[in-house]
Amino acid sequence: MLGKIVDWIDERAKVRDLYQTQMVDYKVPKNLTFPYVFGVLALITFAIQVISGIILLMYYKPIIAHAFDSANYTIMKEIPFAWLFRHMHAAGANFFLAVVYLHMFTGIYYTAYKKPRELTWIVGWVIFFVLLLTALSGYLLPWGQLSYWGMVVTTEIPTSLKDAPVLKGLFGAIGETVSIWMKGGFTLGDIALGRFFGLHVLFLPLTLMALLGIHLYLVRAAGISNPDGVEIDKKKEGVPFHPYMTLKEGAFAMGYLALFFYFVFFNMHHFLPADNFEPADPLKTPPHIAPEWYLLAFYEIFRSIPSKFWGFIAFNLALVFLLILPFLDFSPVKSARKRPLFFAMFVVLVISTMALTILGLMPPTPTNAKLGLFFAAGFFLFFLSLPVISFLEWGWYKAKGGQE
């Protein structure tokens, strides 16, 4: 019966062809390492966010008078099992960003952003950026103290332009305008909540979905990279995507889901922080406001530079450097496995990013600010060293008889 139905569909939609070419004839290198799984995990997490998000959407109310109660009374107490979906959604947001960061670091390590995969990297960066906006807007929705004050701090960041060394008036006016525009007025109110709600539940997820489609297409178009940095002849050396890769990554994905649900059921205190169970109060500034962990590295770069203007420039530069990575690194050699200098700088990058994130949670004492500057320098050093390393590697490459 089932076979007949598939036959019927196949005659019209040619699904068997599609399956054969996309799943079986599509060949991948045999030596893919564990970190290659993070892309798949990101996809799974996206599905988790969409499903849990739609359930939350049925009960959440985007008006200040009701937002907090709809999240904490209706969802957490009134509707059976809605708590589960809120837990999944809040943990999912954190897991999503964690997996995306790991995915990006994997891409950097194996220099998977190099030709012919520059576009894949750039689209991936846009996904990362849209994801940050999605998380930021979602975090406002429960309208707790952290939601409110986190957004106040975020919407004030553009005003640091007024510390510009030249054209103070102009820069100040631009910063102020952008800030008011983000808030939808001079204070955060129903208008801001409505906007961020619309962005969070419709525009940003749709954008993400489209970008994911393009990203996956590009991955297929260029073929998957290789941890050894040499492009394989996929006809001869590759293994069929299904079942070789699908079942391996499927098994890892099950492990990932087990870990994810451990947090969902038993360890939510970080993902639904205590301070956010206090309703937003515009008259009561909480003692410690720090952004969510996934923004802390950028925040710490911003905070440890004494001038707000240069801090603003620096953290934007950090984002831009990530975007133009494929062009900073023009070496002919691929993968950190083959590039000792690059490997060393990658370690510097990883340690600096982690240190910046952890420093972002600590009070801004003078020592911490100095440490922040030190690790911010480490972060930028990675990007600035790439052209130099590439230059040296071209030399070695040519000396060994490599060709352009």
């Binding site: 109660d69 904490n72 708590w83 079942p243 994905a253 451990y262 600590m362």
Partner: protein
């Protein structure tokens, strides 16, 4: 795998694990304030029967200043207004039926409640400098240690606070009130057991499926002649 590969895997894997442990589970670099609760009091706080008594205590000791809207507990002066019952019937939703009194316990949307309570809230504000907060989610945002110590000795925990010390010397009753606030925020014992079982089943399911997929893959690949 060569020795160098093993070192690299251990280094990056270990660093990643350590990093997420610090930011998601326990961060030794930030200051955590701990509030002590004597162990007998802790027992009371965890006792569902104490929570029922705590509700009555709350009504007499705290409801002149605080509401607990998630449990249908409103300011005394508001709840005794003649029109209040009508408002509950028109705008409220049922939370539960009280076991003893068989009365409906109703939830009121915040704007409706604040509109009818406006004068009472403003009066409290003029006496205490601020409106005493609704305590529905206070257990979640402050934790039981803070609540127990604050309610017993407000000035010691939050110097300069305008909350009067109404429970001085009444350790046991304070614990009962905390038990009440806890019962408003936390699922009941039975519900918690259900959630734990559900969690274990879900996690177990995914681990089992992971192993099955792995074994299936091995067999399949062996048949296809791929070795591992």
């Amino acid at each position: 795998m060569s020795a160098w590969d093993t070192i690299k895997t251990a280094f990056f894997g270990g660093l990643t694990f350590l990093f997420f442990f610090v930011i998601w589970i326990y961060n030794p670099f930030v200051h955590h304030t701990e509030y002590e609760v004597p162990s007998q009091m802790e027992e009371i706080i965890n006792d569902p029967k104490a929570a029922v008594e705590g509700r009555e205590l709350f009504k007499t000791m705290c409801a002149s200043c605080h509401s607990v809207r998630y449990d249908g507990m409103y300011l005394m002066s508001v709840a005794s207004k003649p029109e209040f019952k009508k408002i509950l019937d028109s705008f409220g939703t049922l939370i539960r039926i009280d076991e003893k009194t068989k009365e409906k316990v109703m939830f009121l949307p915040r704007d409706v409640y604040e509109a009818i309570a406006m004068n009472d809230l403003l009066m409290l504000k003029s006496s205490f400098g601020k409106i005493p907060p609704d305590l529905s989610t206070m257990y979640l945002s402050r934790g039981e240690g803070y609540l127990y110590n604050f309610i017993l000795k407000p000035q010691e925990v939050l110097p300069g606070t305008s909350m009067p010390a109404v429970m001085t010397g009444q350790e046991e009753n304070t614990a009962k009130i905390v038990a009440y606030l806890k019962s408003v925020s936390e699922p009941s014992k039975g519900e918690k057991v259900k959630r734990t079982i559900m969690g274990i089943l879900v996690i177990g399911y995914f681990i089992a499926m992971g192993f099955l997929l792995w074994i299936w893959r091995k067999k399949l690949l062996a048949n296809m002649g791929y070795g591992h």
